[in-house]
Symmetry: C2
């Protein structure tokens, strides 16, 4: 843009955007002029907006405008990205409801909800189109693409993912010979863990061909093919009878209107005597997921409040035994991922180009910020049927030291 051409209307819009963000300690710059706010001590970061068109997109589609602008380079953040996003989320939270951005946002959401997201993939690949090689660059060795559990904040990621799998197995008190069905198994790490260390027989469902192939290969290599069956199919097609139902990181993709159906699938699988665990990203309130994430990263994703999740469990009379919020564990998991991602940035750029690199950086950084400020939460819910005989007396067994993956033998739970 022509530097001298910052009009008063543009300045007015810039001011409105700044106000709607709740006036964070951030400088907004349009071109090389139009600093907002005029006077600010030690701004945490400077956000530069390249010109008219980027500004207009920010005005009409605030969050998409920011995400796309950051990805294509027309918006630059000079300063720590995670910290900047965290500060903006916090100040937006304070200003919530009254802001012009939130009004714009809700209008925009009405619009998009009436439209399918056809042709919106553009330069950004969707999750399931991406190769295993991409995720290998920044996930742990076992390719666990869900929140880890860190017994202490300094636990390394590899260990924390194993600790998460043990946490899940202990929560459902898994024992040798039991049958587990897993809905949405990713690359199969948990299914294999349950078979290897807890002696369970597992049927693991997933609609991603690449992930299923990877899981089967690992099962073969580890001699677990007779214990773990990987099935390329939708959770709705789960058949068979099981002692336990487990789903880690799938509820987000199910969509609230299918919760009752998911509940029926669970009940059909474990009856009244079984128990299960749901691990998913949630919210404190029922609000739509970030539109940019929904549009560019996770199409169709919906992040529920606990109230909505009752639709899964109530109709079959399941008891909620335990809910744990691992919000800060997800922030920590994402910090590890982002650090590894940055280390692999040259390789990512080679594979997918600079716009993709920035888009995923924003996704990871924005997610860290969202979990830190509490816009996103991570719930693990343990539930049981009305006739379940396997309900732990207390939760103390979750915090005992002996873990099967550490001692290399089958773990027997201490309570019964």
């Amino acid at each position: 843009m022509n530097n001298s051409a910052v009009s008063s209307l543009e300045k007015w819009f810039l001011g409105k955007i700044y106000d709607s963000l709740g006036k964070p300690p951030i400088r907004l710059v349009l071109g090389s002029e139009g600093d907002i706010p005029r006077h600010i001590d030690k701004p945490v970061a400077t956000v530069s907006i390249s010109g008219h068109r980027t500004l207009a997109k920010l005005v009409f589609y605030p969050e998409i405008g920011f995400g796309d602008g950051y990805a294509d380079g027309s918006i630059r953040v000079n300063g720590d990205l995670v910290r900047t996003l965290e500060i903006v989320l916090r100040s937006m939270k304070r200003a919530r409801g009254s802001g012009w951005a939130s009004r714009m946002m809700s209008r925009w959401l009405d619009f998009i909800q009436e439209n399918t997201l056809r042709g919106s993939a553009r330069n950004i690949h969707h999750h399931y189109d991406l190769s295993n090689d991409f995720y290998k660059l920044w996930l742990d060795r076992q390719m666990v693409y869900t929140c880890a559990y860190f017994p202490t904040p300094s636990t390394p990621l590899e260990e924390a993912q194993i600790a998460k799998m043990d946490h899940v197995c202990r929560k459902i008190q898994l024992e040798a010979g039991e049958r587990v069905v897993e809905a949405g198994c990713g690359w199969g790490a948990l299914a294999l863990h349950m078979a290897k260390y807890y002696g369970a027989t597992v049927r693991a469902f997933n609609i991603s061909k690449e992930q299923i192939a990877y899981g089967r290969e690992r099962a073969k290599l580890e001699g677990l093919s007779h214990k773990v069956e990987f099935i390329e199919d939708d959770y709705r097609n789960i058949s068979g009878e099981y002692d336990a139902f487990v789903s880690v990181g799938m509820v987000e993709h199910v969509g609230a209107k299918h919760y009752k159906e998911l509940g029926r699938v669970i009940h059909r699988s474990i009856g009244n005597a079984g128990r299960g665990l749901l691990h998913f990203i949630g919210r404190t309130q029922q609000r739509p997921f970030s539109p940019w994430i929904r549009k560019r990263i996770f199409p169709g994703a919906h992040v529920p409040g606990l109230r909505e999740v009752a639709d899964i469990l109530e109709p079959s009379d399941f008891s909620v035994l335990d809910v744990e919020n691992l919000q800060f564990h997800y922030a920590k998991t994402l910090e590890h991922w982002l650090a590894r991602y940055e280390k692999a940035s040259d390789r990512v750029t080679e594979m997918f180009g600079p716009e993709f690199l920035r888009a995923w950086r924003l996704y990871l950084a924005g997610s860290i910020a969202a979990f830190r400020v509490g816009n996103l939460q991570l719930f693990q819910i343990v539930f049981a049927g009305t006739d379940c005989q396997k309900i732990p007396w207390t939760r103390a067994h979750l915090y005992e030291d002996e873990l099967p993956a550490k001692k290399g033998s089958k773990w027997i739970h201490a309570m019964s």
Copy 2:
């Protein structure tokens, strides 16, 4: 009744009642005839219905009819009462919805919901009319009239109530110098515990004059009057600013339509930086509380599902950090209470007469059965405001051995 006068209509009704209970292994006897079912091997119990009028009440108001009939002696249970009720609840659960009793019940509920419960107290005193002396007969030494926490099933009741108070204090990570408001403080045991062992300053609200007087007296005796203020007032009149909000066994009395109001009271008290704990009887599904309990024991009580409780926490954007279901701990607590109650039965009869004795026996026995089969649940929910800085990294600190009440000094939480 005239033994030969059991009409075919009466037999038909008896059969219908039996069917609606899901055909449990129980004998029903009308007068000395009319056994239902005709052939049953080793019935768990025999339920004798004295005559026409009792039968008619059972037909038209099944649960009230049973409760009142048991209390006035026109219905007798020959066999273990808790076991009998448990078996009936389980078999009713299996038969649910289809039964004639459930249809009668819902019609009856419509009726009673349009009526106030005026004049229904009859011979059965309501909770808050009863003297401290009555509760002293069967509660623990500190008069804690809520679910205890048993580190092991064999923990004595006195210890389990102390363990519950520590469990609550640890869950909110209470520290010396912090300000706590307690809504519905009973006889004050928890408020005093928080002050004595955790160094907190507590304002405890309760609408029961007798309980408040008792709490104040204890505070004086234990030299804690400067740390604990007992206030005879409704939770809606809570004023002041606090670090934490605690309510143990009050949500049941609030009523679902006041949940949003309760949420506003909490938010007003602790703002966005505070945290809190709600401990209450809940359900797996949204259903009305037992009509007999509501009519005779706890007028106005409502037992919520987790979905309803979202009305308290969602509007203020509180994060749910932890939900623990202590269903079996309440069954165990009630077993202790019932055993003590039976030991004191002569004294109870002297104080209130035989009908009262039976009504409360039924209430305690029925509650044990309801918690065992899962018709009732006990939830402890820990929540925090969006700016709360005091969120534990894991829940491991809840299961460490050192407890202030045991070691006699202030407990400092291990996580930070």
